[in-house]
C-alpha cells in the first residue's frame, strides 16, 4: 500500500472485501489478533464484527488443534514462507465445525517489518461431503470387487495389460497380484487361441460393440484348463477416449460338467427307452405272428373235431375251445400292452382311440378324446412316449381318482405336442407333501419319460375338483428312430 494510491480506489477496495460473502477475508495483527471482519467472515463463522475484532484467531481452531499449537505454527510458517495453506476443521461461533480451506499471507511494510496477516477462509464442508461421498462409493466399489471370489474382475489397459486383480481372479486363474499385474491378458488363452489371434480380436470386438461375451477354455497359472464365461467391456472417459477394459470371468467348469452328465444321462435313458420300445415291438409281433396264429389254428381244428366226434366228447372239447379262445384274448391284450401296433401305421389318435375303446371303457370311466388342436402328427417315437404317459395317467385315474370322466386333449403347441389328461375325481394331493410310494413311482416314470424326450411334465390337482396331468414333448425325431 502506497501513500500515492488514490483514496477513492482504496475505499472501493475495502467495499469489495467487505461485500464478498463466499470468503471470510480478514486481517490479523502481528500477534494473531483479529483487526477486520467482512460479510463472508460473519456468514461463515457466525460472529458479528464487534464480537470478534480484537480477539485472537485461535478461537476458530478446535481444542485438539489449539492444544497442539497449530494456530501459532501456522503464523510461523506464514512468516517463514510468505504464506501457508491448510485444509481442516474449524469452529463456528455456535461450536459447530466446518471444513475450511485457509490461506494465511504474511504482510510486510516497505521496510520489511511484519505488519500482520491476511487470512482468507473458505467453507468447503459441502464440497468435502460430496468428495467424501464419492470416495466412499469408490471405496465401497473397490471393497466389493475385492470381496468377490466367484468372479475374476480385473482391469486391462487399452493395450490389454492387466492393471488390477481381485481375489476371485486369484482363485480362478491362480496368479497372485504381483505375478500378473503388468502382464498381457493373452496369457489366459490356450496356445491355439493365441495362434488364431483371439485375444486381440476380442478387444477389437469389445471396442466395436461396447462389450463382448464369450465362452471357452482358458488357462490357469498351472497350465490346467477351465471352461470360462468371459465378458469384456470397453471403458471410456468423459472425453470418449478409451481408458481400458473391464474383464469379468466366471469358471463354469463344474456347471458344464454337471450339464454334460445330465445330457449323458438323458442320452442313455433315451437309448434305453428306444431299445425297450424296439424290444417290446419285436415281442409284440412275435406273439402276434406266431403264438396267436397257432392258437387260432388250434381253435379252428378243435371246433372241427368237435363236429366229428361222438356226442359224449363234445363237452370236453367245448371247454378246451373256450380255454383256447380265452388265451387268444389274453394274448391280444398282451400285444396291445407291449406295443399299440396301430401307432406305427395309423398314428397317435388311432392308438389312443383303441386304448379307450378296449381298455378305458371297461373300467367304467366315461372317456373323451379331443385331438382337434393337433395340427401336426408327432413322429412315431414321440407318439409312443405320449401314448405311454397317457396310458399311465389314465391307469392312475382308474386306480386312484374315483372319477366318472377322463378327457385327453391333444394340441400342437410351440413346435411340439401338448397333452392334458383331465379327470373329475377326488383331486390329486400329496398326503404330507408326498405321494404314496407306489403311486410316486408311476409319477416319476411319467416325468422321466417326458424329460428324456426333451419335454416337461406336471401334475396339478384340487381336492374335490379333479386332477390334470399335463405334458409337452418337442416334435424332434429321436436319434436313429426306425420303424
Amino acid at each position: 500500500m502506497s501513500d500515492t494510491t488514490p483514496p477513492p480506489l482504496e475505499a472501493d477496495f475495502r467495499l469489495l472485501v467487505q461485500g464478498v460473502a463466499d470468503y471470510a477475508i480478514f486481517m490479523l495483527d502481528a500477534t494473531g489478533h483479529i483487526m477486520s471482519w467482512n460479510t463472508g467472515a460473519e456468514r461463515i463463522k457466525g460472529y458479528r464484527p464487534e464480537e470478534i475484532i480484537g480477539r485472537h484467531f485461535s478461537v476458530f481452531y478446535p481444542p485438539e488443534e489449539y492444544a497442539a499449537g497449530k494456530p501459532e505454527r501456522e503464523l510461523e510458517t506464514a512468516i517463514e514462507e510468505g504464506r501457508v495453506e491448510d485444509d481442516g476443521w474449524r469452529l463456528r461461533k455456535d461450536g459447530t465445525r466446518f471444513w475450511a480451506n485457509v490461506v494465511i499471507t504474511a504482510l510486510h511494510d516497505s521496510d520489511g517489518t511484519l505488519r500482520g496477516f491476511a487470512k482468507v477462509t473458505r467453507d468447503l464442508t459441502e464440497r468435502r461431503s460430496a468428495e467424501q461421498a464419492l470416495w466412499e462409493s469408490e471405496e465401497r466399489f473397490r471393497l466389493l470387487v475385492q470381496g468377490v471370489v466367484d468372479y475374476a474382475i480385473f482391469m486391462l489397459d487399452p493395450a490389454g495389460h492387466i492393471v488390477s486383480w481381485n481375489p476371485g481372479a486369484e482363485r480362478i486363474n491362480g496368479y497372485r497380484p504381483e505375478e500378473i499385474i503388468g502382464k498381457h491378458f493373452s496369457v489366459f488363452y490356450p496356445p491355439e487361441d493365441n495362434a488364431a489371434g483371439i485375444p486381440a480380436r476380442e478387444l477389437e470386438l469389445a471396442i466395436d460393440d461396447g462389450r463382448l461375451e464369450d465362452e471357452g477354455w482358458r488357462l490357469r497359472r498351472d497350465g490346467t484348463r477351465f471352461w470360462a464365461n468371459v465378458v469384456i467391456t470397453a471403458l471410456y472417459d468423459d472425453n470418449g477416449i478409451l481408458r481400458g477394459f473391464a474383464k469379468v470371468t466366471r469358471d463354469l467348469t463344474e456347471r458344464r460338467r454337471a450339464e454334460q452328465a445330465l445330457d449323458e444321462r438323458r442320452r442313455l435313458l433315451g437309448h434305453l427307452v428306444h431299445a425297450q420300445e424296439l424290444e417290446r415291438r419285436r415281442i409284440a409281433w412275435d406273439v402276434h405272428d406266431d403264438s396267436i396264429q397257432s392258437m387260432v389254428a388250434v381253435g379252428m381244428r378243435l371246433q372241427l373235431l368237435a363236429a366229428r366226434l361222438p356226442e359224449e366228447h363234445r363237452a370236453t372239447l367245448s371247454s378246451l375251445d373256450e380255454a383256447v379262445s380265452g388265451t387268444i384274448g389274453r394274448l391280444r391284450s398282451l400285444v396291445f400292452q407291449l406295443r399299440p401296433t396301430s401307432i406305427d401305421r395309423h398314428g397317435l389318435v388311432s392308438a389312443l382311440t383303441d386304448f379307450i375303446r378296449d381298455v378305458v371303457i371297461g373300467w367304467g370311466l366315461k372317456p373323451g378324446l379331443h385331438p382337434g388342436d393337433l395340427t401336426e402328427e408327432p413322429p412315431t417315437e414321440t407318439a409312443i412316449t405320449i401314448f405311454r404317459i397317457c396310458q399311465e395317467a389314465v391307469t392312475n385315474v382308474h386306480k386312484h381318482a374315483q372319477a366318472k370322466t377322463v378327457d385327453i386333449y391333444l394340441s400342437t403347441v410351440d413346435r411340439g405336442t401338448m397333452t392334458r389328461v383331465i379327470d373329475d375325481g377326488v383331486g390329486y394331493s400329496m398326503p404330507g407333501g408326498r405321494p404314496e410310494p407306489k403311486e410316486h413311482f408311476g409319477l416319476i416314470e411319467m416325468r422321466e419319460r417326458a424329460e428324456t424326450a426333451g419335454g416337461w411334465w406336471s401334475v396339478t390337482g384340487t381336492p374335490g375338483h379333479g386332477t390334470t396331468v399335463e405334458f409337452w414333448l418337442p416334435t424332434t425325431k429321436a436319434p436313429e428312430a426306425k420303424t
Binding site: H288, D289, I292, Q293, S294, M295, V296, A297, G299, M300, R301, Q303, L304, A307, S325, I328, G329, R332, V335, P340, T341, S342, R345, H346, G347, S350, A351, T353, D354, R357
Partner: protein, 134 residues
C-alpha cells in the same frame, strides 16, 4: 360261371400255413362252399385271384408283399365283383378303416368261432346279385 349256383367258390389267403390249412378244412367241411385255392402272400393272392376268379376271398391283413390292404385294392381293381372278407388278429380302428376303404365287405377277428366264419362267407356269397346290379 360253370359252377352250380349253390356252390360258393372261396379262396383263402394267409401267410401262416396252419391257418391256411385249418381254414380250408373248415370251409371244405361245408357242402355249399368250395375252396378253389390258397395263397401265402399278397402277390400270390393277386395272381391266384386273377387266375381262379373266386367269388369270396378270406384275406389276412398282415402279410408279406404289401399286406391285406394292397391285395384287396388290386384284386378289386381287376375283379370288382369279388367279395373280400378281412381276417385278422387285430381289430384296431386304423386297420379296420384301412381295409374298409380298400373295399372289404366284412372284418372278421381271428378267434371268431368257425360257425360265424362260415356264416360270413355265406353272407358274402349271397351278395353276388347285389354286386352284379350295382
Amino acid at each position: 360261371m360253370s359252377t352250380p349256383a349253390a356252390l360258393v367258390r372261396v379262396m383263402v389267403c394267409d401267410d401262416d400255413p396252419m391257418i391256411r390249412e385249418a381254414l380250408s378244412e373248415v370251409l371244405e367241411a361245408e357242402p355249399d362252399l368250395i375252396v378253389v385255392g390258397a395263397a401265402a402272400d399278397a402277390d400270390e393272392a393277386i395272381a391266384l385271384a386273377g387266375e381262379l376268379a373266386p367269388e369270396v376271398i378270406i384275406l389276412d391283413v398282415r402279410m408279406p408283399g404289401g399286406g391285406g390292404p394292397r391285395a384287396a385294392r388290386e384284386i378289386l381293381y381287376r375283379a370288382p365283383r369279388t367279395r373280400i372278407l378281412a381276417f385278422s388278429a387285430y381289430d384296431d380302428s386304423g386297420t379296420v378303416a384301412e381295409m374298409t376303404r380298400a373295399g372289404v365287405v366284412e372284418y372278421l377277428l381271428k378267434g371268431t368261432p368257425n360257425t360265424e366264419i362260415v356264416a360270413a362267407v355265406r353272407r358274402a356269397g349271397a351278395l353276388r346279385e347285389a354286386r352284379e346290379t350295382s
